[in-house]
Symmetry: C2
């Protein structure tokens, strides 16, 4: 007995739309509305149509290579993510090629081009700070190459993503500072077009408001590197009104802040409490050891690679994009006052 | 007027050897003696024969991709090297794909296979601790893909290399410790089949001997990771005869040693002086700041990429393999006593 193989035609007929609409919906084409995309995916799943079977036959061959694009390889958070990706990929028999965008949109495009040329089976990407257009990501999806975002995603592309609960992580960190008696809490934030920086700042603001503390714009600085922190801390701590705590958008900024505070003769945490965000290697080397929000970078990388490998093997329960949120933890060390 | 294009036949005739001998000599084939290889290269240069012109035409097309294999991406020394490679490559219009071997010979072979499949124009590699056979490297050279070693090279393959003056770096570091009054100097070394670990230990021993200090095997441990250092330091500092200084094979081992010493109540540098080797990010974060040997990782990476790109473009003055030694510097910070 020959079983009728469901084709894209069957799906189109069932929905009363063109084959091209179904095809473009499955490729997340921008011309197709989100509603139509969802409808197509629902019908495809109901009918057990396997679009990837065709997609796979279109590709010449499997290379067992995963392409990874990170903003910076030499970065404590992405380093942990890279380790997690590597572990999951190697366990599944994949080799991993890493590219760095250096936070540049142009470099990111070149990286994606190299990955396409290398015929990688799938791509993991965390967007560069400079990336505000996404045609190069769409090109991968059009090319039937599964893409999973990690950490820095964009809303315009409907694909799988593994992200951090940045808002809640920041809220809990600042809430903890307030519980230890801090009231004048400064925030060193990242560029606000980056979702992670935006959400961490929102978490900071919400924690203040929740505790009836006025948000003071003079205590908020765009400052997300070690070098900037050295200088901005010096400026901040030379003003008449001093903060009693600083919450930074990442650990390296916290280390710059700490070194600058120590150089000026301030005691951490007695004069100023300090909380970072990352929980990379540096946080357990500084003196005092850094209180920070653990992003579980290793877990993010591992989970993202696992989802990608399931997509490559057409082995996901659903065609709907997966969003996996990794919960953060506040790791209390010695740069904050005791409760 | 047609200029006679020198061919491999002309070279073979000039030398009175077979074409196959010339070809294998140029590919650094193990069956050809070093003397013959040198002779062939000399004649090839004298006759201005361009073997790479043929080699290049054998490759389908340029990809403008450089493949890089490092033992560990998440490593302070290799991180700096990666930045240097990246800068030189991007400046010359190349994109870089990074692979990590995780110190495994088997992974390294898979990485090289992926690089060959990706048709990279050239390869930079620092060998894994587990690599003791080199057929996979030879395969690249047979495939007309230029290879440059950086930091961890092997003597069996005659190709370009950018290495660190590990022996002299270690000698100067230990000599400095002796000048500050230390006499009982322990050494935490790496596996001795790795040339860099062997040379650093030789430098340590030579410095002791030069200063009339007896080498004491009880003060030498194979210990080259943060975790091992925590434990071995505890063991070493629980013995009746204590060292007054510890020289470690790399910075992360020094950080583990430092944290262990502090946890046991020892003062650095008053009780024990400490010198690392790398000059990575961590050395300027620890408390006290770490005295260490700067390997100039960024410069190593940059120089290695520049040599590789010249080879890819057939733009080197000589076909003889280049060995570039990057000089180290002792960076004196606060983990050693004052002179």
């Amino acid at each position: 007995m020959k079983i009728h193989q469901i084709t894209i035609k069957d799906v189109a007929r069932e929905l009363g739309v063109s084959i091209s609409t179904v095809s473009r919906a499955l490729k997340d084409h921008p011309d197709i509305s989100p509603q139509t995309k969802k409808m197509v995916r629902d019908v495809v799943e109901k009918m057990k149509y396997k679009p990837n079977a065709i997609a796979l036959s279109l590709r010449n061959q499997r290379t067992n290579i995963i392409g990874v694009v990170v903003p910076e390889i030499v970065h404590h958070f992405f380093s942990s993510v890279i380790s997690g990706i590597d572990e999951a990929a190697v366990a599944a028999g994949y080799n991993v090629m890493f590219f760095q965008s250096n936070e540049s949109y142009e470099r990111e495009i070149l990286n994606i081009q190299s990955i396409i040329n290398s015929r990688a089976d799938g791509v993991l990407i965390s967007l560069a700070k400079g990336t505000k257009k996404f045609a190069h990501i769409r090109q991968l999806i059009d090319n039937n190459t599964p893409v999973v975002f990690f950490d820095r995603a964009c809303d315009e592309i409907e694909t799988d993503r593994v992200i951090v609960d940045d808002y809640e992580g920041a809220l809990n960190a600042v809430d903890f500072l307030i519980k230890t008696g801090c009231r004048r809490i400064a925030h060193f934030s990242g560029p606000q077009h980056l979702q992670i920086a935006y959400l961490r700042k929102r978490g900071y603001i919400t924690a203040l408001e929740k505790n009836g503390i006025k948000v003071d714009d003079d205590f908020i600085f765009e400052c997300d590197t070690y070098e900037d922190a050295l200088e901005i801390t010096r400026k901040l701590m030379s003003q008449p009104r001093l903060p009693d705590a600083i919450f930074t958008v990442n650990d390296m900024t916290a280390v710059g802040t700490l070194n600058s505070l120590k150089a000026m003769g301030f005691n951490v945490p007695n004069d100023v409490s300090l909380v970072g965000f990352t929980d990379g290697l540096v946080s357990s080397i500084t003196d005092p050891l850094l209180t920070t929000v653990s992003q579980h970078g290793f877990e993010i990388g591992k989970k993202a690679a696992e989802i990608l490998i399931r997509r490559i093997n057409n082995d996901c329960d659903s065609l709907q994009p997966i969003t996996k949120v990794i919960k953060t933890d506040l790791v209390v060390r010695d740069s904050t006052r005791k409760l």
